[in-house]
Symmetry: C2
DNA sequence: TCGTTATTGCAAATTATTGGCAATAAAAAG
DNA sequence: CTTTTTATTGCCAATAATTTGCAATAACGA
């Protein structure tokens, strides 16, 4: 009922690419992550499953996964790149500056406006980065919550 | 006719802050820059005016300027932080992925939507990052151009 | 003019990420 | 299943951007 479930990881990696034990583990870790971990956090989680995984391999694997379109990387202001599996439907993020919590959202209207603005400037939009920063309104509790 | 022209750099830096020769030069360089240079480029331009300026001082000065709200820093995808003097009116950027050129734009509607989305999620918007990436439409020449 | 102390230059330190290389293990062949 | 080929890994050194320690220096208020 939701798109593309039947393609193997192996296939998605592309020709010439090997499906190693560490890649399987890292892929599992990324898939299972509902938050947006950075490389060392992924390494921590992966090493907990299989200790024979180095941080270098995590970095190299994330790069391969990114090239294969399996994951997306964000910066969220900080110095370390943060990762999430490529979502079925694109979304952007709001970062709670008081807690660091990351909330996902999607605005059809903003998406449309961005493409329109690019076109008006003479460009075809190929990608974008939209991050909102803010603090909770007094009294109100956030609707969604993901770190 | 445009806001706040009468405040001295010295005053804007805040109490306890000294207006040194290198800070004046760096401020001038930033003011004069119509593009979005990174630290070493600013150092290059500043050193051309006054050789007694080190890269360390550029970094430290940019941090002071940022804290004072005199400049803004962007990443534009790359690894080095890029700088521009705080504009009188906020704007966002479109990066030409074929040339690296940076084009500034402002959309009242997107600005409004962002605040609205944050509010709906239970947050007060305090800042945001919006960067569009794209390539020129065949045949059409970009309207504005700044790197 | 002077004294206090913020600021600077220089070099070393940090932090995140990348790259070299020999050892290892997918997966292609036989 | 065994052999062969070579992508991938672990370890560690190398980068790249930015920060920091410290003694020397220069703002600037008294
Ligand atoms: Mn997300
Ligand atoms: Mn700008
Ligand atoms: Zn979006
Ligand atoms: Zn904006």
């Amino acid at each position: 009922m939701s798109g593309e479930v039947g393609t193997s990881l192996k296939a998605r990696l592309g020709a010439g690419r090997r499906l190693t034990g560490q890649r399987k583990v890292i892929a599992d870790v990324v898939q299972a992550s509902r938050d947006h971990p950075d490389a060392s956090e992924i390494h921590r989680r992966a090493a907990a499953i299989d200790p024979r995984i180095s941080l270098s391999t995590v970095y190299r694997t994330l790069k391969v996964f990114a090239e294969a379109g399996l994951i997306e990387q964000h910066s969220f202001g900080g110095p370390r790149a943060r990762v999430e599996r490529t979502p079925n439907r694109h979304h952007d993020h709001l970062i709670d500056t008081t807690t660091g919590r990351v909330i996902e959202f999607r605005s059809e209207e903003i998406e449309r406006l961005q493409a329109e603005i690019a076109r008006e400037l003479g460009y075809e939009l190929t990608g974008h980065t939209l991050e909102l920063y803010g603090h909770p309104l007094r009294g109100k509790t956030a609707r969604t919550s993901k770190s």
